[in-house]
């Protein structure tokens, strides 16, 4: 009996997975072709629905929009800023977790620029192969280019502090009004916890402290010092793989995970929809 049914089940399993793959492929093929809800009207309706009174809440912005209608980059900039302000809450720190094999500098740079334009202060980019870390100058170049293209030449307002985790940047605290980008790789995850642990153990080895002094907050302080950044409140997972793939295990304790199918050909509206979803999330913090 077993000998007869086993191949049948294996066949059914293959069939099932084939169907699922066809389904996913079809969806990803359709995604850029579907009429995207780009109209401002639709967006405003959504904003008004999610945040009652948002449409009337920022009359000033509408005025500027009207005044600056002639300058497309300026109009776009105020529009994006208004979109960010219309949300009930916005993450201070967003993590962009690339969970797919193919990478696109342009699309990722776009996403980073949008995040900064809606008013997010810290953006970190991660992929588990360290691809963007290895090529971070290329990514930076692309971001600067996109900034100029999308937001106009006024690059100073959206300057990017490019941090490498091995370097502690203290200046960063001073220029706090500028959004900060961080490109992370797996070594910033568990390995940085191990380094902090080593540091604590070394101080025990040198009889400077005792094992009893080690607490969650002493470890947290060590891990924060090297990052200078609050924990990401939102992690946007870009790609089909449903895993954190080693992204900052210590720091994602309370992060909300929202998935988007890919960072390639990502539309601004998809980011906005994800941010809207985030703004509706409530945390009970154990209570």
């Amino acid at each position: 009996m077993e000998a007869l049914t086993a191949p049948l089940y294996a066949f059914l399993w293959r069939l099932l997975h084939l169907l699922l793959h066809v389904h996913t492929a079809l969806l990803s093929w359709l995604r850029p072709r579907l009429p995207s809800p780009t109209s401002r009207l639709w967006e405003r309706a959504v904003a008004a629905l999610t945040v009652p009174g948002a449409a009337t809440g920022f009359p000033g912005h509408q005025k500027t929009l009207g005044l600056l209608g002639g300058d497309p980059t300026e109009a776009r900039r105020s529009r994006w800023l208004a979109d960010g302000q219309a949300l009930e809450k916005l993450p201070v720190h967003i993590g962009l977790l690339v969970a797919e094999e193919e990478h696109s500098y342009t699309d990722l740079a776009n996403l980073v620029v949008w995040c900064m334009a809606v008013g997010i202060s810290y953006v970190s980019v991660y992929d588990n192969q360290g691809f963007f870390r290895k090529n971070n100058s290329r990514l930076l170049e692309e971001i600067v280019r996109q900034q100029q293209e999308l937001l106009g030449v006024d690059g100073s307002r959206y300057g990017v502090d490019f941090l490498s985790s091995s370097i502690n940047s203290y200046q960063n605290k001073v220029v706090s009004c500028r959004p900060t980008l961080k490109v992370l790789c797996p070594a910033d995850g568990k390995q940085s916890i191990v380094q902090a642990a080593q540091q604590l153990c070394r101080s025990v080895e040198n009889k400077q402290s005792s094992s009893k002094d080690i607490s969650v907050s002493s470890l947290d302080v060590l891990l924060r010092e090297s990052k200078n950044i609050p924990d990401p409140e939102l992690v946007l997972k870009l790609g089909p793989v449903n895993s954190t793939l080693g992204f900052l295990p210590w720091h994602i304790r309370l992060s909300e995970f929202i998935s988007l199918p890919s960072h390639r050909n990502l539309a601004y509206e998809e980011l906005l929809a994800a941010l809207q979803r985030y703004s509706c999330c409530q945390q009970r913090l154990g209570q």
Partner: protein, 335 residues
């Protein structure tokens, strides 16, 4: 309600289970069983009744897992953060735990028959003493069973667990069992409460929340995460199948990421050993530059010594943890 639910799957469930089992199956599934209180509110029942139904669902889920050949399950029963809830609710949850662990001891024969090993992960010191003793008894009674494993995270958060692992390593340094330079990713993993389990392949959170809430942060860095909107007491066999299907679709890419990570980790360890040897040779080499062969030999010697130190330390740690449970248990007997 008991810990073990007997019974076969119905025909349709059995066929589906067999189809799923033709593909790669998770060996270890972790659950954040969220939604008991919302379920109670929805059904207009007492909060405590919601928690009760949640526990019953756990017994049912364990039965499904058994039929799906999933030998290990980890559940988030009570977070350290949950102590912030009202005294009423915390007391109610402690009482529920008391009842369930007493029940577990009554069912010891059945647990033995099914080979169920129950472990409790967390800082027991935060619990009332009688509950600590009860848990210790339950853990000791089932610890030699080896067919399926249920890990109950109780008075647990992942950050606390990681910190505790660091504290244990620092203890090892204090006891001169290991050196600070022996601290590595692998060693930290061995010092976690979960050191007896492989990392979960699949993490499921119910009730539509999309965060980890300080659960198994270290262990799930290469697990498949599935967030489902169903409330935990309403969780069904089909929800579980859907999650496993997700795992199977992700299996290849996650496996690849794991392999990459493992390679990276081995490299990291080799580099750390090299650095220690280089430092050692510098101090004791009388200024002579070491040739490649001597360096290689020194490296091998050093690695062997480190591995032995780590082994002895882990033995001592295991002994320390075992005697914590044994002491609790014998206290209870003499009391």
């Amino acid at each position: 309600m008991s810990w073990i639910k007997e019974g076969e799957l119905n025909l349709l469930e059995r066929i589906s289970a067999n189809v799923l089992k033709a593909g790669p199956m998770p060996k270890h599934v972790a659950f954040i069983m969220d939604g008991n209180r919302r379920f109670a509110r929805k059904k207009n029942m007492e909060r405590q009744e919601g928690h009760m139904q949640g526990f019953n669902k756990l017994a049912e889920t364990l039965r499904w897992c058994k039929h799906l050949n999933i030998p290990e399950v980890t559940v988030y029963a009570f977070s350290i953060e949950n102590f912030k809830r009202t005294k009423d609710e915390v007391d109610g949850l402690m009482e529920l735990a008391r009842q369930k662990f007493e029940r577990l001891l009554e069912e010891r024969d059945n647990l033995e028959k099914h080979g169920v090993c129950i472990r409790v992960l967390g800082d027991l010191n935060m619990l009332p003493l009688d509950l600590q003793q009860l848990i210790a008894k339950a853990v000791i009674t089932t610890r030699d069973h080896n067919k399926c494993f249920l890990n109950v995270c109780f008075a647990y958060t992942s950050r606390y667990e990681i910190t505790n692992a660091v504290r244990e390593m620092a203890w090892g340094v204090e006891q001169s069992l290991i050196k600070a330079s022996d601290v590595s990713e692998a060693l930290l993993g061995e010092c976690l409460y979960s050191n007896n389990s492989p990392n979960p392949d699949l993490l499921i959170r119910t009730s539509g929340e999309v965060r980890l809430s300080d659960f198994l942060l270290w262990q799930t860095s290469h697990s498949c995460l599935v967030f489902q909107s169903v409330l935990w007491p309403e969780y069904s066999f089909w929800n579980l199948c859907e999650a496993i299907l997700q795992y199977q679709l992700n299996h290849k890419s996650i496996q690849k990421a794991r392999d990459l990570h493992r390679e990276h980790q081995a490299l990291q360890q080799l580099e750390a050993d090299r650095a220690c040897v280089a430092e050692h040779l510098q101090y004791h080499g009388n200024g002579k530059p070491a040739d490649a062969q001597r360096r290689q030999e020194a490296l091998q010697r050093y690695t062997a010594c480190r591995e032995e130190r780590v082994r002895d330390f882990l033995q001592a740690l295991k002994h320390k943890r075992d005697s914590f449970f044994n002491d609790l248990c014998s206290e209870a007997v003499s009391a």
